[in-house]
């Protein structure tokens, strides 16, 4: 299994982007591209070529599920694992998001101390390790 290096993070809330950036870059040493909207992510994703996408669910413009659909339609991103991050953990929602093709759904608020290790677990599981 190759190592997880490049993460695309899509999140409309600037504060949360800042925190996740610090976690992923300073605590996890990942190469991170952050986008403030689904549209921006769809535009920049192919060029960035992420190993994994962290995707907010509720966003203005393209929401999480729509963004996922757009990403899936693009060359090179068809099989990129997508992890949803949602503040709206309703019953059935997790199942619904997974059915759309997400490999995992993380609830907000998350624990900063364990976020990187959880992402690594998901990455390992996705690669069947």
């Amino acid at each position: 299994m190759r190592a997880l290096k490049r993460i695309l993070h899509v999140e409309d809330a600037a504060d949360i982007r800042k925190i996740v950036e610090i976690i992923l870059v300073r605590m996890g040493n990942y190469t991170v591209l952050q986008c403030a909207s689904g549209d921006e992510a769809v535009e920049k994703a192919a060029a960035f070529a992420p190993d994994l996408v962290l995707l907010d669910v509720m966003m203005p413009g393209l929401d999480g599920p729509q963004t996922l659909e757009e990403l899936r339609a693009r060359e090179g991103l068809r099989d990129t694992p997508v992890v949803f991050m949602t503040a709206k953990v309703q019953s059935g929602e997790v199942e619904m998001l997974k059915a759309l093709g997400a490999v995992e759904v993380l609830a907000k608020p998350f624990d900063p101390a364990t976020l990187c290790s959880r992402i690594e677990e998901i990455w390992a599981r996705h690669h069947g390790a």
Partner: protein
């Protein structure tokens, strides 16, 4: 005057008399006819229907007399009641029993008296049909005696008719009142025959569904059922036919204008005296407004909690980063402040999660994944999963062996949630080095899980509201404090499993929380 004394069955006799509801009622031609005939045929000036109660004789009918009643002690009729046989006095002035009676000495100056008992079918003697003359007379001929007795019996029959009539009147009044209540109760009350034909239709039904009684009565009840729900309706009717009522079942019905209405319906079988099903009644209540409110509330809670979670993600994230040391070690004085803030942000998260959880549970929106469960295995799993938290409190979790081999139908994750809640509560309220025990027992078709702590017990003042939302005996420790929703969630989960939850507690001895679930045979 020598008073007659009382018959042996006086109390029962009085009950029977009062049961006729006739005393102090206005004169009636039906009774006056008898006194008129008696006076005419026996050729006397006075004839009476006299009823003897505790203190007096009261005349339901009086021919030739103005007085409505006299004291019982003066009454010739009291002797007829006492002796239960016809009494003939030819000349009262020569009879020691009556010679000084005020009715002899004064008006109406009775000389001759003949009274036949008014004997009920149960042999209670209520009074007399009597004839009176102001002149002494020879006794009655056998024909006259027979005539007076026959007339007395006819008076008794008339008393029964009077009683029936007043009972009927009361029943009609009660029925009219009931009818008015049903007609204007605000709910739709509909009667149906066994085959589902509508037989009655009240104002509430007209208001709810829009059909007039003329339009609805005679139609089949499925007129009101949306086509998609016909299967549900048939199942409900089968249920009723089996003799069981359906209570407050929430469903949808179709109004005349095609609108679908959210209703809560209750159906009951209507039976004849032999127990045979003759139809059923439906009471339907419009709950569309209530449904809208529930929907709005659910949306509100969901939106609010989402809106709360987003800033909370930033707060908890920032504090977590400070704690993690990614910006360097925190100064000694600042670290506890960051810990406090972080712990409270976690508590807020729990609170929001619990609020959402209970809101969904109450709205019936939580889907339970029911499966047959080995309850003992579930208990052991919960002990293993929660041992870590207990250790942080210096508490040991232990099963009370043997755990009963109970099987239930349940949602494993939800029951584990209940156990986690009860175990963490028990650990929280245990003394250091304490032991929390979990027992699993069986009885009366139920499995009981008991979580037993040896803590201080639940304060008296808190017991009554322990299952209420936001009730906490002590919320001073933010790091470990619950949300005050845990037990209400537990109880809601158990109740969704058709179970019950309760507790016993004793000051200084400890507390046992237990829940019962219906057992299934494996």
């Amino acid at each position: 005057m020598v008073p007659a004394g009382l018959p042996l069955n006086e109390p029962q006799r009085l009950d029977a008399l009062h049961g006729f509801d006739i005393l102090d009622t206005p004169p009636e031609e039906a009774f006056d006819r008898f006194t008129r005939i008696a006076a005419k045929i026996l050729d006397v000036p006075i004839a009476l229907v006299s009823l003897v109660d505790e203190a007096r004789q009261w005349f339901k009918s009086r021919h030739g007399l103005d007085v409505a009643e006299t004291p019982r002690d003066w009454a010739f009729c009291s002797y007829v009641v006492k002796d239960d046989q016809i009494l003939v006095v030819e000349d009262a002035t020569r009879d020691a029993r009556f010679a000084d009676s005020p009715l002899v000495v004064g008006a109406p100056e009775i000389r001759f008296y003949a009274g036949a008992p008014l004997r009920t079918r149960e042999n209670y003697n209520l009074g007399t049909l009597c004839v009176i003359d102001r002149q002494p007379r020879r006794g009655l001929t056998p024909q006259q005696t027979a005539l007076l007795t026959d007339l007395a019996d006819a008076v008794v029959n008339q008393l029964y008719l009077h009683k029936l009539a007043s009972e009927l009147q009361r029943a009609q009044l009660a029925q009219a009142q009931l009818g008015a209540i049903i007609e204007y109760c605000g709910d739709a009350v509909i009667g149906k025959s066994v085959d589902g034909t509508i037989t009655s239709w009240n104002t509430g039904a007209q208001t709810l569904y829009g059909y007039t009684p003329d339009e609805a009565i005679g139609q089949h009840a499925t007129l009101l059922v949306p086509p998609a729900l016909l299967g549900e309706w048939e199942r409900m009717v089968d249920h009723i036919a089996g003799g069981e009522a359906v209570e407050q079942f929430e469903t949808v019905r179709l109004a005349k204008d095609g609108q679908e209405i959210d209703v809560s319906v209750s159906l009951s079988p209507i039976r004849d005296r032999g127990g045979g099903l003759t139809g059923f009644s439906t009471i339907a209540r419009d709950i569309s407004q209530q449904k809208q409110i529930e929907k709005a509330k659910a949306e509100f809670v969901s939106t609010v909690s989402h809106e709360l979670r987003t800033p909370l993600t930033s707060i908890k994230g920032s504090l977590g980063l400070l704690q993690s040391g990614v910006f360097g070690e925190l100064p000694e004085a600042i670290r506890p402040m960051v810990d406090i803030a972080y712990n409270n942000s976690e508590r807020l998260v729990r609170l929001i999660n619990d609020l959402l959880d209970i809101e969904k549970m109450e709205a019936g929106k939580v889907e339970f994944h029911l499966e047959p469960l080995d309850l003992a295995a579930l208990v052991r799993q919960s002990l293993a999963e929660n041992a870590g938290y207990a250790v942080t409190r210096g508490v040991t979790l232990r099963a009370v062996e043997p755990l009963a081999p109970a099987r239930v139908i349940g949602d494993k994750d939800r029951l584990l949630q209940v156990m986690a809640n009860l175990l963490s509560n028990a650990a929280k309220f245990s003394p250091a080095q304490g032991v929390v025990e979990v027992a699993l027992t069986q009885g009366e078709g139920k499995a009981r899980v008991s979580v037993i702590d040896h803590g201080p017990g639940i304060p008296d003042a808190f017991r009554a509201r322990i299952f209420q939302k936001f009730s906490q005996a002590d919320a001073s420790d933010a790091a470990h404090a619950g949300t005050g929703l845990g037990l209400s969630i537990c109880r809601a989960i158990v109740e969704r499993h058709c179970g019950t939850m309760d507790f016993t507690t004793a000051a200084g001895v400890g507390t046992t929380f237990y829940f019962d679930l219906p057992e299934v045979r494996s």
